[in-house]
């Protein structure tokens, strides 16, 4: 299945901003975080198709996954 992964802020350093890749069925959000070598405690926000998500969540073909470190402003 095809998943689009978007990275933001410091997560882009040495990685990428956005890619669409093939993943095996049953892939979970946490698997992709692990594959990218991002320590889970550094993850501030996981957005799956524009909604907050958790690492345990299963992915589906065509999903959009966005990963942010803890950031803020205002």
């Amino acid at each position: 299945m095809k998943i689009t992964v978007k990275l933001f802020a410091t997560f882009r350093v040495g990685r990428f901003a956005e890619v669409t890749r093939d993943y095996p069925p049953d892939t979970r959000v946490g698997d992709i975080i692990k594959e990218l070598n991002i320590p889970e405690k550094e993850v501030g926000m996981i957005m799956l198709n524009n909604r907050h998500a958790e690492p345990e969540q299963e992915l589906h073909d065509g999903d959009n996954l966005a990963l942010f470190p803890l950031v803020g402003g205002g």
């Binding site: 978007k6 933001f8 802020a9 410091t10 882009r12 901003a17 550094e42 501030g44 926000m45 957005m47 524009n50 909604r51 907050h52 966005a66 942010f68 470190p69 803890l70 950031v71 803020g72 402003g73 205002g74």
Partner: protein, 576 residues
């Protein structure tokens, strides 16, 4: 020398120092400006008339070695909203005033003659002189001239042409440590200063008594623990210094809460071009500064210096809300144009958030098309000139909406709604509706918990828990705004318990007090209730605590949600 109140009477052109009354002794910043306005300003007065007063108060920790303690509060009855107003800013003035042991500066009355004046404060007292040379001048040039006259380190509070012309979106600018500009942005306090015919206040603290700390050892330890918590938290320690507040463009776009095309959509196609990530790369490439503090003692350094392609300074303090507003809200996907707009706004002295909402409504009206960056810059110049159109614009988004008969006018109590769509970030919608000061995200930043997962998580698309969240944040914010600490200390405070303990320890060490956490919460509640009582006496009712109708009816993509709170649910906010 004990702390004093400096009262300037612009009717008699005289100033005098007063003792601090007992009721004002333990408070500072917003708690003090709101207490003075509530006590001395008739709630029904005309905001630009002689009965309004403009009050400046450094926070309780201003001028001390505490990190992040350089914020200055300004308060009055607002000409934009008709409510009480407190707006705080960085820059050097809070520290300059504190070092002269001036707890509050109250400017009242108005002169009989149609002339402008400058107020000079130093260790020997105060002088008020007619000012002619700087009238009509932009803030950048005027601040430079004042530094030349008095000294490189002088604190400056100043209005630009927009304030001189008493437009409701006028701000008050504060000189920052580099001679650039920070602003008391919201609520049109620059127009109040203009109505009193005060072009500027300079504060020279050289030879002054400095700040007293009752227990220096205890203070030092608390200040160290406080700084440690700030640097340890990922938001204040890494996110803000690296990307500034503009990191939020991509965050809000991803969450579907980035108001686009005057609040039609929650996502903007050109988001990457105006994002914090792109801005950081551009700043580094052009030799600007990716981080910069708005006052001495700032260790978060969320500000920056943005240069043009030739490496020349364009602006600093280039914030997410400004970039959202001229970017997504106006469909302008060009950071250089937005930076030029920011420069013009700082120079003419107009609130950049209100201006962003003004431009969105001006585009809605068809004055210029959406996406027209050059047109937006031209409209800002109309405001500088004070043309009839410029004055309609400069009096705020609501003024433009009325002049053109529009209903898609994103304001609450006459103040423009900032950079977070209330339909898809519902907690911040409650803050917009209930804030004592019109729509203002900084009054209770529910975005932290709705979107950023700081201080827990409450689903941004559901109504449950939002009223309570906003209430708790508004109470805490009112207390922080009274300390003079930058509001971004809330990020560590929400997640690291030692932060709040350190703040209370610093207050106790500085003043020889024995405050507890409960006292701080009680202070926050008292500030909100004082402000609310002023508004009720000015004629506001709970019917004013509502969002514009179009949010109830127009679904906001991508989530296609509307605003569904009932009036009764919103009114629960004041049940404390």
């Amino acid at each position: 020398m004990t702390e004093r109140i400096l009262r300037i009477n612009m009717t008699t052109l005289s100033g005098a120092f007063e003792e601090v009354p007992a009721e004002w002794q333990g408070i500072g910043g917003r708690a003090l400006t709101s207490a003075v306005v509530a006590k001395e300003v008739p709630p029904t007065c005309h905001p630009l008339g002689k009965h309004n007063k403009l009050v400046f108060a450094p926070g309780l920790l201003a001028g001390s070695p505490a990190a992040q303690s350089g914020r200055l509060s300004a308060g009055a009855k607002s000409p934009l909203t008709g409510t009480i107003k407190e707006s705080n800013a960085g820059g050097t003035a809070a520290q300059n005033l504190a070092k002269l042991r001036i707890k509050a500066l109250i400017i009242e009355g108005m002169p009989g003659e149609d002339k402008f004046y400058g107020i000079q404060i130093n260790k020997d007292g105060v002088t008020i002189r007619e000012e002619a040379e700087l009238i009509g001048k932009g803030n950048y040039e005027a601040i430079k001239t004042l530094m030349g006259r008095i000294g490189e380190k002088v604190g400056v509070l100043i209005i630009g042409p927009v304030g001189e012309m008493r437009m409701s979106a006028a701000n008050i600018s504060v000189r920052d440590p580099d001679g650039n500009i920070r602003c008391h942005g919201r609520g049109g306090l620059g127009a109040v200063m203009g109505s009193k015919k005060v072009k500027y206040v300079t504060i020279d603290d050289s030879g002054g008594p400095g700040v007293e700390v009752k227990d220096p050892e205890k203070f030092k330890n608390a200040a160290r623990a406080f700084a440690k918590a700030i640097l340890e938290h990922p938001v204040s320690g890494e996110g803000l210094p690296s990307f500034g507040t503009n990191v939020l463009v991509n965050v809000l776009n991803e969450a579907g809460g980035l108001p686009t095309k005057n609040f039609r959509y929650g996502q903007f196609e050109g988001h990457n071009k105006i994002s914090g990530e792109t801005m950081r790369d551009t700043i580094i490439k052009r030799g600007g500064k990716p981080k910069h503090g708005c006052h001495a003692g700032c260790i978060i350094q969320c500000s920056q210096v943005y240069c043009d392609e030739e490496g020349e300074y364009v602006t600093s303090g280039f914030e997410y809300e400004t970039i959202w507003g001229f970017g997504a809200n106006c469909c302008i996907d060009d950071l250089d144009i937005i930076a030029q707009a920011d420069h013009i706004m700082d120079d003419i002295g107009i609130d950049s958030i209100e201006s962003a909402v003004i431009m969105g409504v001006a585009m809605e009206a068809g004055i210029i098309p959406f996406g027209d960056g050059a047109g937006a810059l031209k409209l800002l110049e109309e405001i500088r000139e004070g043309t009839p159109l410029g004055r309609i614009l400069g009096n705020g988004a609501a003024s433009v909406g009325r002049a053109y008969g529009l209903t898609r006018v994103p304001v609450v109590k006459g103040q423009g709604i900032p950079a977070y769509d209330p339909r898809s970030v519902k907690g911040i919608g409650i803050t917009y509706a209930t804030s004592t000061q019109g729509a203002d995200h900084t009054m209770g930043y529910a975005v932290a918990t709705n979107i950023l997962k700081v201080g827990g998580f409450i689903d941004p698309l559901k109504n449950e828990g939002q009223v309570e969240l906003s209430r708790n944040l508004q109470i805490a914010t009112a207390a922080i705004d009274s300390t003079g600490l930058c509001l971004f200390v809330a990020f560590p405070a929400l997640d690291i318990p030692e932060t709040m303990t350190a703040i209370i320890d610093m207050l106790n060490a500085k003043y020889g007090l024995s405050l507890t956490g409960d006292d701080v919460i009680a202070l926050g509640k008292r500030v909100l209730k004082t402000e609310h009582a002023f508004n009720l006496a000015a004629g506001f009712t709970s019917a004013d605590d509502r969002l514009p109708e179009f949010f109830n009816e127009d679904p906001c993509p991508p989530h296609n949600v509307t605003w569904t709170f009932t009036g009764e649910e919103i009114d629960e906010f004041w049940n404390f």
